[in-house]
Subunit: 237 residues, 2 copies
DNA sequence: GGATAAACGGAGCTACTTTCTCCACTTGCA
DNA sequence: TGCAAGTGGAGAAAGTAGCTCCGTTTATCC
């Protein structure tokens, strides 16, 4: 199950086990906030261990990413199955989208795993082969019941999720629930017919997104206040 | 108007003028395909001139970007005004979104200018101050006429455009019109009430988006076949 | 409590990228 | 024909990310 060297040879020393946990915890935090762009150096820093220790435990980033997101990916597959248990087919579909998206929007790392093509490819393939058929069933049922428009197909859903989570990740710090607004609009567009719009949640502050984009692009380069701190440190030429 | 040194001193030599045009044309192509991540070296290559020439004409990337996209940005502002001339307020709004998005989805550079916070900031600020009020009027009219749901505000629109263009740019090579599908769904969600869904255009091939993502992330690193070409050129160690 | 293999930390090496400069050479034009 | 204007592109400068190496520390076993 675990993709590293634990089980094969003699057991890890107690301190090594402790550090391994610290690294996983740190990776969870760092990847969630900064996405998969985060370096193993950053994770080592967050974990309070040296980089060497990280690389000894996880030979490369892919192994660490796989170890971390195995569960989250599995969880999404499970959501698709659970959604089918809902009595109302439309409610089931909506619930699935909301749950899946709330995970991806609050965790930039998870979103990157789902979107990107550089990490954990096989993890995704296996997840996809479980999610697709379940989603397919959800969709067919909602269409059969006359809720979901009949001109959408299974492939549309990952695409719509991608669009919404691209916003969700950008605004996760400043307006963590903003994405729900646009999911609601999309869902109102997916329903076959309705008399009135579904009440929108949240509210988009005018410059909020501009600010969020600025913050997220700044964040992506270096962590927040590093430049100011440096300026204080190195005086003179 | 032009942000570089043309008008101030004595006129440019004829060959310099020619090169300047070549550079602008090359930049238009390269930025459109690869986005603003493209380096001035790439543009020089495409233009068939040396990097030095590019840097002599355009002191830095920001000046070149501003020179190139001034018109495109202006054009979008003009669209918002023209849309108000449509008799039907809903049609006007829809037309504006379609036109604005078709520009951003077919030109990754333009999308980057609109989204990113690293280039042409003042260009965007001036554009925004023209677009926002016009869009505001479009929205109010469509709401007043009972087409557009009343719980959306002006700030929602740039956000929705961002979500859709994020898809549009990724699939611009493999399925250039795919984004229209999701715009249609969103618009069906924005309308106050309707009996049936609007017919969707296009069709999402199952693995198309996965493929597009792979292509675009590969594209982002190096241009397509460069590695293979290099291998042929330099034989031996 | 001492021996020893395991684990640790983090400086620093490698490899790569991007922006931009510099200067020996070429060319348009008066 | 002379020379300022223009050119090309190697390479300097400044980064970044990934990973290794090795002197030091520490858990564990006897």
């Amino acid at each position: 199950m675990t993709t590293d060297v634990v089980s094969s040879m003699r057991p890890l020393r107690a301190d090594a086990v402790r550090n391994r946990e610290k690294i996983l915890a740190a990776a969870a935090t760092v990847f969630a906030n900064r996405g998969l762009d985060a370096t193993l150096d950053e994770i080592a820093l967050e974990a309070g261990v040296g980089v060497g220790t990280v690389y000894r435990r996880f030979p490369d980033k892919d192994v660490l990413v796989a170890a971390l997101f195995e569960n989250s990916i599995d969880e999404i597959a499970t959501l698709a199955l659970s959604a089918y248990e809902s009595e109302n087919s439309w409610e089931g579909l909506v619930w699935f989208m909301r749950e899946a998206l709330s995970r991806q929007c609050s965790n930039k790392g998870l979103r990157d795993v789902v979107i990107s093509t550089t990490y954990a490819e096989q993890l995704k393939d296996s997840a996809k082969s479980r999610i697709s058929p379940a989603l397919q069933k959800l969709i067919e049922r909602a269409q059969h019941d006359g809720y979901l428009r009949t001109d959408v197909v299974e492939a549309d859903f990952p695409i719509m999720e991608m669009m919404i989570s691209s916003l969700g990740c950008v605004t996760s710090q400043l307006a963590p629930d903003l994405w729900r607004r646009y999911l609601t609009i999309m869902l109102d567009g997916l329903v076959v017919s309705r008399d009135a719009p579904t009440q929108l949640e949240g509210f988009p502050n005018g410059d909020l997104v501009a600010e969020a984009l600025r913050a997220s692009s700044r964040h992506a380069r270096r962590s927040e206040g590093s430049k100011e701190l440096l300026r204080d440190d190195c005086q003179g030429s």
